[in-house]
Symmetry: C2
Subunit: 289 residues, 2 copies
């Protein structure tokens, strides 16, 4: 199959590579074109615009930072819309607004293009190993066509409902990531100050009812003082803005998520926006010294 | 070996049963004596006081609700202290104050009794299957003697440091449980109100970076409206009091834990104290309707 992948960053590049290795013909594009180098070396064709990718592909995946970026990829100069034709499918792996997603899908529908929102979770490691969780919104018929490819990218794939449902689910996903990280940073800070062996604490509690992906995967990074991003604080803050918008629209109070969001803002204020979410430890530690 | 088990409730009973099944001679006691029935049927000797258990055992386990309960078991009328002798070991599986634990251990040391704090995590299911995480504080020499028994009770056992370290670690553990439950309840409430298929959301996000023990084990209970206790809200509130004391002593700010504690107080105010921690959903849902 001819597959396009637009946005080959920390997540997109390994995901595109997995599709390539599964035997598909790949056409790729990235704003910073050098980020396509490893894919080019592996046999992908590097294109000079999203529209050029779409012209050559049966299915176009997108994986860019935010709602305006997806909008530009789809509807900007040399965007996907310029290569629109009946039968083309767009699958968006980005995490963006559920409301905007519905608008994008409706605009593309007019010109015969089918749309899935398919945000993912599982970090760079999940992207590399093809073990992501993929949350899909869209029509069953379209989902079924793309499913074999999604199963290359992830070990757990679920159609949640109509277009936008994947993004709503991802918003819920990010609430867990946010509060799990807050819990991790508060517990580590308490353990450090109470004189406990923190590495032993992180190891043992991960085996019981306190266990979480964050604890097992990001706890050791905090212990090693490794704050490099698997997932950047700036992106989580962007996602939390989407969460709060969704909650406000649904008239739902999510007080702990809202409070934890403030601490991630504090992390940005400290210049930690481009660090991994585990850099929240600097903020939480800073409260008590 | 001759083993005593004092406190045969939701956690203690299956733990004692696992030790019995491992081939040990068991002597048991519970304040409400009928809670020893299943152990008696399995071959345990039911005693009429903690002291009577201690008199017959090489190692006495304790698993009772709170600090004053452990104090009474150890030092009350017909308490363990009355059967104190050199070589007796007390291992406390309860979750109680780290400070009081150090005092208890010091008092018992005078009469030759060794002490381990060994609180556990993993819920009733972990207790039944012998897959608990066990967080131990005490001397290495004593730990090594009890380790084969702890390995019957749990799949992950760690000596954190001197007496009290197990309880400090358990306090950290409960911070995770608290905030993970808050995250679960906020995410489910948002999903419900946003019109998402909540069961599908819980299932898919458990497979990615949002995954947690709470999500996988208690998420489905919330979906099934099963609020029966694996671990009671009243007990978590008791544990959170210990957490806040430990944090205050260490001069550590744990703002999200402190906020979530308030919602568990609200759950108690609603009469949900004897329900499982997942009954927090009633409080969080109640905020938005």
């Amino acid at each position: 199959m001819k597959i396009g992948y637009i946005g080959t960053g920390i997540m997109g590049a390994p995901m595109a590579l997995n599709l390539l290795r599964a035997g598909h013909e790949m056409f790729v594009y990235n704003r910073t074109i050098s980020k396509c180098d490893s894919l080019k070396a592996a046999g992908a064709v590097v294109c000079d615009s999203p529209g050029a990718v779409a012209a050559k592909s049966d299915i176009v995946f997108i994986n860019v930072p935010d709602t305006p970026d997806v909008q530009k990829v789809l509807f900007g100069d040399a965007g996907v819309i310029h290569a629109a034709r009946a039968g083309l499918i767009v699958a968006d792996n980005s995490t963006i607004s559920a409301g905007a997603t519905k608008e994008f899908a409706a605009k593309l529908k007019v010109v015969g293009v089918d749309y899935l929102d398919a945000p993912v979770s599982g970090g760079d490691v999940g992207a590399q190993k093809g073990t992501l969780a993929i949350m899909v919104g869209g029509e069953k018929e379209v989902f079924d066509k793309v499913l074999p490819l999604l199963e290359v990218l992830g070990s757990k794939v679920s159609l949640l409902g109509p277009v936008g449902s994947g993004q709503m689910c991802k918003a819920c996903n990010q609430m867990f990531c946010t509060l799990h990280m807050q819990a991790l940073c508060e517990a580590i800070t308490l353990a450090e100050n109470a004189g406990l062996d923190v590495a032993k604490m992180v190891d043992i509690v991960s085996g019981g009812a306190a266990g979480s992906w964050a604890l097992s995967n990001l706890g050791p990074k905090i212990l090693a003082n490794d704050l490099e991003p698997a997932f950047m604080i700036d992106l989580l803050v962007k996602d939390l803005k989407l969460v709060m918008e969704l909650a406000a629209d649904a008239r739902v109070a999510i007080p702990a998520t809202a409070m934890a969001k403030q601490f991630f803002h504090a992390a940005e204020a400290k210049g930690l926006g481009s660090k991994g979410t585990q850099a929240l430890i600097e903020v939480v530690r800073g409260l008590s010294k």
